[in-house]
Symmetry: C2
Subunit: 164 residues, 2 copies
């Protein structure tokens, strides 16, 4: 069995990336939240101001998984970090260290780009993933709680008491 | 009492922003984590590829607080979001809805820029902040746990089993 080949996604990979996002959402029991389209991914990954970047892992020429990331920013460090939004290995390819190879590739990108941190979030019930991440030296930060404003609540605040 | 004036930070505000970051870190009991410098903030906020943006709130000409944000990305939505990294109102200016004015300004930016989500994280013990965010319609996502790889562990993974 050869090592997986990891390379930046190309524009031709967009239909594949949308498939992988949907497979991941199914695994996370969140498929109803997927509204991304090929057009929105094309704009976001390959448009004039890319919002994110992706890596594709292939094993013997077949897509085994992907990672999608962007740069966040730490005010305390005063520099950008690397944020992993999605990491997914297809079931048939698990147990071959492909997830670890993707994470190692991203860690090297983070170091090369001068990022002080490499961060991501995981569903609390996904203990297999959490154990794996901790085996790599990653630390959970359970004292921070994520908040989100979206939909009607976002529109309401946007239209409200904005100081002009 | 006049409404606060909220405006994008200018390069001349960098020493002020570093002071505000340090004040916030003191409040969060995390001051030892601040290693940002004026030079790193200048590069990150006003360099050729800005990693983040900042808003300054002034009340009668005096700095009352700030917000620092960047764009993240949701694969499920297929588009970018707005991520609030830091929000801080100086103690002397609290109780005047300055935090709400900053959040409303950011919510409007999020809507104008086509962001599907406006997100941030809060320390779990900061119940005053959590109650305030929830009063605005924000929802906590406690099922996601944040992970971080930094320092020696990041270097180790970067230097390790990278598939080439």
């Amino acid at each position: 069995m050869t090592q997986p080949e990891i390379a930046p996604a190309r524009e031709a990979d967009i239909p594949l990336i949308l498939s992988l996002i949907t497979e991941l959402a199914e695994f996370e029991k969140l498929k109803d939240q997927v509204v991304a389209t090929e057009a929105s991914l094309k704009e976001s990954l390959f448009g004039p101001r890319p919002a994110a970047q992706a890596l594709i892992a292939r094993s013997d020429g077949t897509c085994a998984g992907f990672a999608l990331y962007f740069h966040n920013f730490s005010t305390f460090l005063g520099r950008r970090g690397l944020y992993l939004e999605d990491l997914y290995v297809r079931p048939a390819f698990r147990g071959r260290s492909i997830g670890k190879a993707l994470l190692a590739h991203l860690a090297r990108l983070a170091v090369e780009r001068g990022c002080g941190r490499f961060e991501w979030a995981v569903l609390d019930w996904n203990t297999a993933a959490r154990d794996f991440y901790e085996s790599l030296g990653a630390q959970a930060n359970p004292t921070w709680v994520n908040y989100r404003l979206t939909g009607a609540a976002l529109e309401r605040l946007a239209g409200g008491s904005l100081a002009r």
